[in-house]
Symmetry: C2
Subunit: 180 residues, 2 copies
């Protein structure tokens, strides 16, 4: 996993924010030349495919400032420092959807933008859902609404770009292959 390794000669931190930080690394390339890599550091995240007892997928709509539009996604959220991804997945599921899950199954992890960011998403399926009595609070700058859709509706939302998000597009195919 170190093929074509680029060794760091020097790393300069440009920005350290609440969510991301940015470093520019001077690297030694496999051919002995040097180059620069602009790298976004992110704490990593979880995403959850919640499947109701009726076989519907629970999705959340929220405004994404980066895209200047609202999109519809599976529930997701950033890892706290040192947090177990499964614990984070249960928390985000409860906060964003009001559902708890009696069954939480790890699917896989992947990088979202390996060309410029180190964000990894850990993906879970949540089943045997129940409504929690006291819905946990969202973060104070977070506004979401919930939609429960059939697989066919989710596929239609991918086509009309209401679903416009890689992890959610993956999840729609995953449900089709694994749950139907």
């Amino acid at each position: 996993m170190k093929k074509f390794e680029e060794k760091t000669i020097h790393s300069t931190e440009i920005f350290k924010g609440k969510v991301v930080s940015l470093k520019v690394d001077d690297v030694l390339l496999p051919n002995g030349k040097q180059s620069k890599r602009e790298i976004i550091h992110h704490p990593g995240a979880v995403a959850i495919i919640p499947i109701t007892n009726e076989g519907k997928i629970v999705l959340v709509e929220q405004y994404r400032k980066a895209l200047e539009r609202s999109i519809i996604e599976i529930p997701a959220g950033k890892l706290e420092r040192g947090e177990d991804p499964a614990v984070c997945a249960r928390r985000e599921l409860e906060e964003e959807t009001g559902y708890g899950a009696r069954q939480l199954t790890y699917i896989q992890s992947f990088a979202t933008s390996p060309g410029f960011a180190n964000e990894i998403i850990h993906l879970y399926a949540a089943k045997d859902l129940y409504k929690i009595e006291e819905k946990r609070e969202l973060d104070e700058d977070e506004f979401v609404s919930i939609i429960e859709v059939t697989l066919e509706e989710a596929e239609e939302m991918v086509k009309n770009q209401q679903i416009y998000d890689a992890k959610t597009a993956f999840s729609v195919l995953w449900v089709k292959l694994n749950e139907m």
Copy 2:
């Protein structure tokens, strides 16, 4: 698509690099409060699922400095300013794999990290491939090797995390649902 809109009060450019730039936006939330959003601006990219006449998927292995490891992905590359994504897809396919495609079909587009970046990937399937006589040059800081795998091998690479990339994980499921 403007539900829960966050209006920009002020935008501060922190960094403008070769690949990404970073802005911090002060925003007005739906509840009238203010918050900050750290946004990575990226030119957008294309990715291509190349399927050989033998039904194999052509993948590229490359070192990803952001992850400090090499991973195996479908061919992909950044859009030049104003470039037609289909033109970019053909160029990246030829540069990275040495294949041209007689058939290039648009699949869909998605954001890779909508929580902090505006990167959109436009995904294509490339079929009826042919070896090009003079392989186009890669970028001078780009080092890749090519692997042709069956769907079953690709699925195994997802499990053992040689494939560790959202667009490629999506593509493996897409091939399974659409080409088999």
